[in-house]
Amino acid sequence: MSEGKGVWVFSENADLTLEMLGKGREIADKVGAELAAVVIGSNAADWANELVKYGADKVYLVDNAMFGRFQAEAYLSVLHNLVVNYKPETVLIGSTKNGKPLAARLATRLEVGCVPDCSRLGVDEKGRLVGERITYGGNAVAKLTFKTKPQIVTVPSRAFEKPQPKKRSGQVVKLDLKAEQAKTEVVETKPLETSSVRIEEAEAIVSCGRGLEKKEDRVLLDELAAVLCGQVGCSRPLAEDRKWFSEWVGLSGHKVKPKLYIACGISGVIQHVAGIRDAKVVVAINKDEQAPIFEVADYGVVGNLYEILPALKEALKKQLQ
């Protein structure tokens, strides 16, 4: 296990760090490399130790009160410094709103390539990392690999499973690194009201599109979702144009992977469908029998959602008794 072959993961988001450790372990084992996590934070020693249980052979810990909250230049300079010193071959960075620019800037400082938002990751016969990402507005999946090292990719939330923690041994390397001066100042932060359960975690999703006539009619979806112990989702126009919801499913929204996805009054254009690729079973309810959603559904019902949804709720209740 030589230095310079390492697979690294970094995210300021805890869950994403663990998810990437799971995938990172797989990649590191395939190429015979060490798996390391980078932790930049304040009072983060416990967290660093915890990461060993999730698969890290090594944790580079940069612990200082000044790293208590994410700051672009500070985090970037620390990460850059570590990469230049320890020369990992592969770096996985969490694709959050802060993580993605961080990856882009790191790759630029190092004059190397970056493949963003990899929903799948593998290794080719030459040992190179291959990332898969949705592109051309959901019309295509691109498989991309690297001509330079380090290979930097960003990984979205919930693309990979969180591994089970195990008793294993690993090394925490404490480092005291100076950070570059911040160029931006956060003047205010407000918490965002989001649904308490993340839609990515839902096992069943009842989702509606512009076929829904009034905001109040959402109750039809809520009721069916309740029977399925699931959640309600929507297409982008319902959130962005009509503002009936705050988030949506699709290419530019949430990529979901429920066991059951019921699309009601959704036409099924490629940008929406890109978000439900990993659903196990897709049901389409649409009054237009030509709607493209039927091409990408396991079960299709041509009909009015206002009639089908209540009937389906009753039928499920009856059959589940």
Binding site: K143, A274, Y299, A311, A315
Partner: protein, 262 residues
């Protein structure tokens, strides 16, 4: 404030893309192009800042390997004062880093600036990298994914939506900002504006006009394949005499699939 630069991409109109069903290849060559939609928001924001601050010039910069004039005409009609396009056959296979190098050099050549605006992601490649790469090459402070923007004295203030919070960030000018779609509703240029735009200047540069190190343009990424996703769905139609019968059949099928919790 004197000058705002907007990085404008001419993108493949992804809503009009066709796929060859036999090979799953995209037919991109003949696909219609348009101004990348987030970039249109960036341009709109620049024009609004110009309307609030007299004497500001809005300049667009585009890197293309083909004709991009219609998109630039539209930009000028929306209120940009000048459009630069770097058009060179040598740009066919550049990746996000190469594009950023060319943009950074073109921005420097276009003159002194206070603000660079980019889209958060481009319509077709949707990588969301180029803006931050340009900012890094120009050593600028960055405000990414801004959904609100204002200029206060010698600083720019942006509001960004993160996964669990909304953050207000301040950066001293010159700075780079990437914008989301929520930031504004881009205007549709009137006939008058379109007419006026025909007198404005589009400047074409080739790589030879820029101080770009050609060695830096070699792609760092290898494309293994780009194919339409396979759809492996069952496509079973559920029909029946009545809504109740259809619902019963569907419920039964879902329970059999094991996707419904008891």
């Amino acid at each position: 404030m004197k000058r705002i630069i907007v990085c404008l991409k001419q993108a493949v109109d992804v809503t009009q893309l066709k796929v060859d069903p036999a090979t799953r290849q995209l037919i991109t060559a003949s696909a219609p192009r348009k101004m990348s939609d987030f970039d249109k928001n960036a341009l709109e924001e620049a024009v609004r800042l110009k309307e609030k601050n007299a004497g500001v010039e809005v300049v667009t910069v585009t890197v293309a390997s083909e004709e991009a004039k219609t998109v630039l005409r539209e930009a000028l009609a929306m209120g940009a004062d000048k459009a630069y396009v770097v058009n060179d056959a040598g740009l066919k296979d550049v990746d996000t880093l190469g594009t950023a190098h060319v943009l950074a050099e073109a921005i420097k050549k276009a003159g002194e600036f206070d603000l660079v605006l980019c889209g958060e992601s481009s319509l077709d490649s949707f990588s969301g990298l180029v803006g931050s790469r340009v900012g890094e090459l120009l050593s600028l402070p960055q405000v990414t994914s801004a959904r609100k923007l204002s200029v206060e004295g010698d600083a720019v203030v942006g509001e960004r939506t993160l996964e669990d919070s909304i953050e207000t960030v301040k950066a001293k000018l010159p700075a780079l900002v990437t914008v989301t779609r929520e930031i504004n509703q881009p205007r549709i240029p009137s006939l008058m504006m379109i007419m006026k735009a025909s007198k404005k200047e589009i400047v074409t540069w080739t790589l030879a006009d820029l101080a770009v190190d050609k060695a830096k343009l070699a792609s760092k990424i290898e494309v293994v394949e780009v194919l339409a996703p396979k759809t492996e769905r069952k496509r079973i139609r559920i029909t029946g005499e009545s809504v109740a019968e259809i619902a019963d059949k569907l419920a039964k099928a879902l329970i059999q699939e094991g996707v419904v919790k008891r």
